[in-house]
């Protein structure tokens, strides 16, 4: 069977890549429809409290909002195809620049959160699995449930009030205003640009600003990793080869570290990809809580302002990112485990 065409890796990858197009089209269409179905429009959001109905109607016409929906939809799809999202209505910015300037902040936050989730979640999951039903296991499981279940804005607010203020850490933003002013945007990713600048004070400033938001977001994902690693460690520790290794006199700790952990981490790789969408969703809340200048916070602002172009642009980028990561995970899985292709 392995030699048949349906099971070949290139064909599988091609199928997954081709599926990206309809997936993104569905998402784009949903975004377009939901925005138009929601009450209000950019004009009423901006100047609805000032102008009479005639003046508002004139401005809607000037913006093309009274054109047939199908024409607006076609323009939207055409612009996406050309990666041209136009200029935001509410703050006069090219949408691509908004994505460029703020995407870096979201990327930094999500990567740092991921790192924290891995660094905290995997060892704790290992510990809980290794010492099943001990006090440590109970505490870690409880911690895992809480960190997953606690609302981001609540955790963020607690950290701002009870950690940031006593420790002198910043409560929001990606850097102090002076750092943002002085650091030259080579890559438009502040975390990288600040290291390129070589300015020690600025580097410390940026890292301090990153700590609490990434911890808040990282804790969310951390709970998933704790539970996953723990369960896989428990299953692996019952496997025959572990028993055989222990029968040969290899210590339990060594078996856990060298054999069980490696096998237990395989499903985690898959879950990392699946958690990406959750991470982006969490980033929206984290950025809002910490006034983090990323795409998530911008998205919330633009939704409130009914800025169709901006929302469509940002959601498109989020959708493409999630779809590409999921395809990448599928491909990696197929490479690791040939059974996936059948």
């Amino acid at each position: 069977m392995a030699g048949t065409g349906s099971g070949s890796l290139p064909r599988y990858i091609a199928q997954r890549v081709l599926l990206v197009i309809p997936m993104i089209w569905v998402i784009l269409t949903l975004v377009f429809v939901v925005l138009r179905v929601a009450p209000g429009d950019p004009i009423s959001a901006a100047v609805g409290g000032k102008l009479d109905a005639d003046a508002l109607a004139q401005r809607r016409e000037a913006l093309g909002l009274n054109r047939p929906m199908i024409a607006q939809y076609w323009d939207y799809l055409s612009s996406v195809a050309h990666l041209d999202f136009g200029t935001t209505f509410s703050d006069n910015q090219p949408v691509l620049r908004v994505i460029r300037d703020n995407g870096g902040a979201t990327l930094s936050l999500t990567l740092a959160a991921f790192a924290i989730a891995l660094v905290v979640g995997i060892p704790l999951g290992l510990l809980a699995g290794r010492y099943r039903d001990s006090v440590a296991d109970v505490v870690i499981r409880l911690f895992g449930i809480l960190s997953y279940a606690a609302p981001i804005f609540f955790v963020g607010f607690l950290l701002q009030v009870y950690v940031a203020q006593p420790l002198g850490l910043p409560t929001g933003g990606a850097s102090s205003p002076m750092t943002a002013f002085l650091v030259t945007p080579h890559t438009h990713i502040l975390l990288i640009d600040v290291f390129l600048s070589g300015n020690g004070t600025a580097i410390t400033d940026v890292l301090k600003h990153l700590l609490l938001p990434s911890l808040t977001l990282g804790l969310l994902i951390c709970g998933v990793f704790i539970r996953l690693v723990r369960v896989n460690i428990l299953q692996t520790m019952q496997a025959d080869y572990v028993e055989a290794a222990e029968a040969r006199g290899i210590s339990r700790g060594k078996v856990t570290r060298r054999h069980a952990l490696r096998n237990a981490l395989v499903p985690v790789v898959t879950v990392i990809g699946l958690q990406f969408a959750m991470l982006l969703g969490g980033a929206v809340l984290t950025e809002s809580t910490f006034n983090w200048p990323g795409l998530g916070q911008k998205l919330v602002d633009y939704i409130n302002e009914r800025d169709y172009g901006a929302v469509q642009g940002i959601v498109t980028i989020f959708a493409i990112a999630v779809v590409l990561v999921s395809v990448l995970v599928d491909v990696v899985n197929a490479l690791i485990d040939p059974r996936v292709r059948y």
Binding site: A38, A45, G49, Y131, A136, L167, L169, T171, P177, R306
Partner: protein, 538 residues
Amino acid sequence: MKKRMRSAIAIAGAGALALAISACGGNDNGSGGGASGGGGWILGTTDTVTALDPAGSYDLGSSTLEYNLYQTLLTVPANSTDIVGDAAQKCEYGDPKTLTCTLKPGLKFSNGDALTSSDVKYSFERAIKIQDPNGAAIYLLGSITKTDDKSGVVTLDDNAIETPDDTTVIFHLNKPDTTFQYVLTYPGAAAIVDEDVFPADTKLADEKVIGSGPYKLAQYKAKDQAVLQKNTDYTGDNTGGASQVFIKYYSDNTALKLAAQNGEVDVAWRSLSPTDISALKSDSKLTVATGKGSEIRYWTWRVDKGIGQNVAVRQAAAQLIDREKIASAAYDDTVSPLYSVVPPGYAGQKDSFKEAYGTPDVAKAKQILDKAGVKTPVALTLGWTPTHYGPASEDEMNEVKRQLEASGLFKVTPKSTEWEQYQTLYKQGAYDLWMLGWFPDYPDADDYLSPFLVNGGFFQNGYKNPEVNKLVAEEQGNSDQGQREKIEGQLQDIAARDVPLIPSWVGQNTAVYGKGMSGVESTLDPSFIFRLWLVSKK
């Protein structure tokens, strides 16, 4: 024993991890500090900026920067409603349809270009030509424009602006309008831009804007921060202030409050909630400064259908409303009771509602209804929105409901919806009485009268009174200020008699600042212009 030891190790490990994470942050209070160094200071705000090109903005967030980056022909000095020259030495009416302005000599933009009458004319022409949906020009410059009935396109009147020489600008108005001079103070309609820099038919990108004001733009990151530096080419009177000012934008009042408490901003201005302000008053590191405000909140009656058609019902409700109680119960006294559609501080203002109704009185209200033969309790639908006027608006709605129902004369049904839907619903007549707010465009009582009282107002409540329309036209076309104030008083009395709306409160202009700051109080006035040049940090 072994199991207990493992548990202890696990707990110790978790604790050490937590400590390590905390330690990464350090404890030197460094980045938490708002000090930007170099004599600069940081202003934190939740206001948003629509555009820094004046042709595309009509909001306070944009005008806060524009007042500091651009000059207008006239301006409003701090704590005054008397307008004075900014780029103009003087502007004088030859007659109510002709305004002549003479520019100050030697004016320059921050790029070194000379500012002449040609730039002034160009600024008005392009703002009207662009007619950006977010812009103020086509709305506020009606006295020099005409609108095509079919297409709705607004164009500048022929020969509306004359520039006989480099320093003279003559406006020929299409109707007698003495409020036009006040419009010239508002940058969204009248900021002067460099004709060699700003395109004639499109907006300029925000980060490229050039003005002739006391500051110039050094950096702009939309929704994040703006950095302003002193304009060395500025030749006007508004010198002083710090060499560099950072303006940091916050997504909500909670984030701004935390930043103020943590010293991440030196001044927090707009918009902290009443609860925030009360909390910050007890912080020894901070000072809460308050000046007179001009933002008002009012309740609008639907007068062309439903119970609001009966003026006695409207008057009875006006007789019952206890504004002082609203201010204390809903806003912790961070707002002041408002007894006219025009707030105190404006020439011509009078407390007409106080004169007409005195203190809240149930017996008088009942008498009004009885006399009109109105059966009580009157069922009334009260509209409000939780998503536009802040969290305290619900408290205000509850207080109004409580007051009306406590009289036994009204049975109130509150209805709320999100702001976007709210705007449609109140125009469609979904509510008998509904909450709205207003923020002035220019410092004259007319900006609180004509938008509300002429032909149903911008909110289309159905109130139409030919006498009001006539008086507004007279007031706008009269160059005798004393006469104007008299007419404005008449209009306020009519509003109290007919009650197309019930004024509720006028806000204060509040800022919170940290140690070392000076001059903040001096700019907190009803104009809501934050004059950065008046503020400095030791």
